[in-house]
Every structure is written in C-alpha cells, then in structure tokens.
Amino acid sequence: MSLYIARRLVSLIPVLIGISLLAFLLGVLAPGDPAPALYKQITGSPAADPAAIEKFRVEYGLNDPLPIRYLRWAASALRGDLGYSYRSGRPILQEIGNNFIPSLQLALGGLFVAILIAFPLGIFAALLHNSLPDFGMRVFALMGAAMPSYWLAYLFILLFAVQLRWLPVQATGSWQALILPSLTLGIGGAAVLSRLLRSTMLDVLHEDYIRTARSKGLKERSVILRHALRNSLIPALTVLGGLFGSLLAGAVVVETVFSRPGLGSLITSAISFRDYPVIQGVVLLGGTIFVLINLLVDLSYTWIDPRIRLGGKGGIKSG
C-alpha cells in the first residue's frame, strides 16, 4: 500500500512541474512591463525615472533569460513566497489562503447537495427501470447538465428568496447564505452523478452474483445496499473526484453571482485590476490543490476496491 502511494506521489511530480511552468508562462504572457509595479512595491515610491527602473530591472534579474527566471520563481514559490498582490500589497499566499476556505465550503456544499440528490435518484431509477420515475430522472439529468449555473442561480433566488421568501436574497456569514449557492452548484453535479449511478446500477443488477444473492434468500434491501450499491460505487467515486474539482472551479462563477468571497471573486477582481501575480498564484495553488484532491480520491479507491492495489492491471472494470 505504501509503495502504491509512493508511486502515485512520484507520478505527480511532472504534473506539478507542468502546472508551475503554465503559471509562470501566464506571467510572461501578461501584457505590459511588470518592472514599474514591482519597483513601486519594493521601494515604496512610484518610479518616474526610466534609468532607475532599468537599474532595478538588472538588480532584480528581470532581464535574465526565461529559464533562469523560471527557476528563481519556482524556488521562491516552493518556499511559499508567491510574491505580493499589486493591488493590496499583501502576500499572495495570504490572499489565496483567505479566499480558499469560502470556495472550499461552497464546493463541499455543492458536493453534499449533489450526493444527496443523486444517490436516491440514481438508485431508484435503476430499480424502477423504464418506469415513470426513471423517465423523470432522465429528464432531470438532461436538464441539469444543460442549464448554466449562473442562470440557475437567479432562478433559485427568484423562487426561494423573492417569491417564497424562505431565504434572504443576499446574506453573508450565516449558514443560510450557503444554501442557495450550494443548491445551484450541486444540481449540475447531481445530474451527472445520478445518471452514472443509474447506469452502473443497471449493469450491476444484471450480474450473476446479484442473482446468487437473491436466490440464497437475502433480503432485497441487503442485496441492493451490500452487493449492488457497493459495486456501483467505484465509477461513481471516479466521477465524484472529478466532480469535486469541477465544483471548486465552478464555484468561481457561482460566487460572483451571490457576491460571495472566494477564489472566484479573487481572480475576477485580480483580472479587472490587472493584478497578474494573483492570477498566477491562483493557477499555481489552485491547480496544486486540485491535483492533490484527485490523488486522495484515487487512493480512496484502493480502500473500496482492493483489486487496484493488489492486481495493478485490470482492477477497475470499465463501463
């Protein structure tokens, strides 16, 4: 098991290098000259004198070749120094740290909603295959995947906050403030997940061991929960991992709709203020966290399906 984890960790290295190269290149691509902004940040005075800027540029190595600049940038990033925001002057690591938690909360909320809706829906649709509820679930899955979250958000606000007045239109800080954003974010995930669960359940229900379990007189409940559901979980978990990542990214848009703080608000305001180091930092850190979450999901398969760590090849049956 520890060998498997070690192997997975090593395989992360090229991806992490790739992410850092990408984040660095974004900074290179950014239009305009970073020198005046950096000069102002470090010396505390806006630079008027081109000669001073030039001297500064040499001093801080802004004229060095790209590979050297990349290595220097990556080295300081590894030490946790991502530079400073042009706008607020605060360390970027701190800015991202402050904004990551609200996004994580929202993504977890979305995941919770998705699971809460998808599991019963997917399982019952499979058990009641080709019935009216099954048809309804398929319509839900189709619509849920097609509706833009930034539109659904307003429909929910109109329904729950304006018409029914169950929830405040805009509230921050309270737990109620998390309900509508989570619901908005979770519906799309529920669509994908319920559809997948339904089809894997249908596959599994036709397996021989289900017939065996039924014929030896197990209760239907036990057949479904212990035998069918458990074997449908692996594909669902694969999607769940990817889903959590895309919920985290999708939170970016939903956040702006609900004016919630988070990575989304951070990056959109960084864009409008041309605060390029912040954009770079969000890509680097957001990407790294994303990759680590996916690793955790992969590792959790081995807990559910020991075939993966024991067999190596051909562990998961696809389809």
Binding site: I19, P148, S149, L243, G319
Partner: protein, 308 residues
C-alpha cells in the same frame, strides 16, 4: 459550469471501445455506413438533438431574415416594453428588441463554440496522432502536457488565460482552445495505438507508404467516429463555458448581442424584469441540451453496447 465536468475517464474508455473492424471492401464499408444511418434515425435522442441543433444553427445563419429588428437599435421611450406586435418578446433596459437580440445572439454564442471545437479537434487529432504513432520522447512530452492540462480545473485556467490576454471573444476562444485540446489528444492517442497494430496499417507500412499518408488515409477514417462523439458531447460544455466567460464580462463587449452577455446585462433588473434573464438562459439551455442529446445519441448509434 460545474454541471459539466470534463468528459470522464469512463466515458473516454467507452468511446475508446467501439472501433469498427476494418472494412474488407468498399461495398462492405458502404453497408456499414447505411446501417449506421438507419440506426441514427431510429435513435430518438439523436434525432431530437439533431433537430434542436439545426433550429439553433438556422437562427444563427438566417438571423437577418428571422429577427424583426436590428439587435442594437434602441427604441427611445420603449424600455422594458411588454411583448406585443412590434416586440414579440418585449424590449430590454435600453429599449432594444429582445427577440432580435436572442436570434442574433446565436451567432457569437454557438459560432464561437463551433469555431473552438474545430480548432480543438484539429489540434487534438494532430498532436494525439503524432504522440501515438511516433511514441518515445515525443509521446512522453505531449502526454505530459496533456496530463497537466487534464489535471487542472479547466474553467479556472480558462478564466486566468482570458484574464491575462484581456477580455475579447477571440481571447475566450483562444483560452478554450489552449485547454480543451488535451482530452481529444488523449482519446486520439489511445485510438491510434490500437489501430497502429492492425494488419492493413502494417501492410501499408511494409509497401512503403509514407507516414502522413498512412495517418490520413488508413488510420484517421477508422478512428473518426469516437472523435465525432466526443466533439458533440464537448460542444455543450464549450457553449456553457464560453457563455459563462461572456457572462463574467471577459468576452464580447457591449453592445454585442450574446446570450451570456445578455444574462450579465439583465442582472441589475432581475427582480423587476426577470424575463430579461429568463430568455437568454433558456436559449443556452436548449442549445446545450441539443448538443448533449445528439452526442448521447451518436454514442449509442456507434457503440451498441452502450445503449440503454
């Protein structure tokens, strides 16, 4: 746009599976095609999807003939007009005809996603085939880039790229292309690895056919079906992403009529005039629904095992 996570591994595996066996003769391949066409028309999801896609495409293509007004013409004193004979769906906050803006909005909304899909498919096929066919260092190098891109949250990356390049529809398309080719490259590489071993490819190699010709004439035709399915499924995602970037103000600039931008424009009035946001969102939903249905249907048609 979390609602459409990237096509998952399991979908890619499913797409990978159904390679038609090599046609023995021209006659057999035309028979295969006929059977596929018949299966397509028997598939309700595929036909419904095709219908929706055609309706939206004709809105985009024939907008000048369908729209009652110029989408940017402001009728003074007619702000938020009720639907009526002059304005079938009413007017917006600047007194512009809603229906005309919705019809013209199909052009940037669907057109940009279509353009992006074409570029992505070309890049994905080229790099994926190159990696799969040549193997070795090139394969490693291309696949490391693909791994990185697939490992990252694509929407966040797209926002970052467009944010750095500056807001415009071209940059939105560029940002999408930079990221989305990766899943195509991975699919194509896997398919090429499989087809490369087929006897007819080996035969072509042994009689000295040049590599580009082998790829183009012998390999591409047998792997094109799964690529089309992926493109159709990803079209919906791209439309959502592009409209989302426009909604965030990163794409088209006013006064261009585009569904995502129209949603953004309706935001301040959504309590007073909800229909300002209702219609553009419905258009996006219908369009994405069309492409998703078409993609699902095509997958079922080309891979009978997947049908349910």
């Amino acid at each position: 746009m979390a609602e459409s996570p990237r096509v998952s591994d399991s979908t890619l595996l499913a797409l990978n599976a159904p390679l038609p066996a090599a046609a023995e003769s021209a006659e057999e391949s035309s028979l295969y095609r006929k059977r596929m066409v018949r299966r397509f028309w028997q598939n309700r999801s595929a036909v419904a999807g095709l219908f929706l896609v055609l309706v939206i495409a004709s809105l985009a293509l024939f907008a000048p003939f369908i729209a009652p007004h110029d989408p940017n013409e402001q009728f003074t004193g007619k702000k938020f007009a009720r639907p009526g004979a002059q304005f079938p769906l009413g007017t917006d906050s600047l007194g512009r005809d809603m229906m005309s803006r919705l019809v013209y909005g199909a052009q940037p909304s669907v057109g940009s996603a279509a353009l992006a899909t074409i570029l992505i498919t070309c890049i994905g096929i080229t790099l994926g085939a190159w990696a799969g066919y040549s193997g070795g260092l090139i394969d490693d190098f291309i696949m490391r880039i693909v791994d990185t891109l697939l490992a990252l949250p694509s929407l966040l990356l797209a926002i970052a790229i467009v944010g750095i390049l500056g807001p415009s529809l071209i940059n939105v398309i560029l940002g999408a292309v930079c990221i989305w080719w990766a899943s195509y490259a991975r699919l194509v590489r896997g398919l090429v690895l499989e087809v490369r071993e087929r006897p007819y490819v080996e035969a072509a190699v042994s009689i000295g056919v040049q590599t580009p010709r082998i790829l183009w004439r012998h390999i591409l035709p047998s792997i094109i079906a799964p690529i089309i399915v992926l493109a159709s499924l990803e079209m919906g995602t791209l439309i959502l992403i592009i409209a989302g970037l426009n909604f965030l103000g990163l794409g088209v600039q006013p006064p261009t009529a585009e569904w995502g931008a129209m949603l953004n424009q309706g935001r301040p009035y959504f309590q007073l005039a909800p229909e300002q946001m209702l219609y553009p969102g419905l258009m996006i939903t219908i369009t994405v629904l069309g492409f998703n249905l078409l993609g699902d249907g095509l997958r079922d048609v080309l891979d009978p095992r997947h049908t349910r």
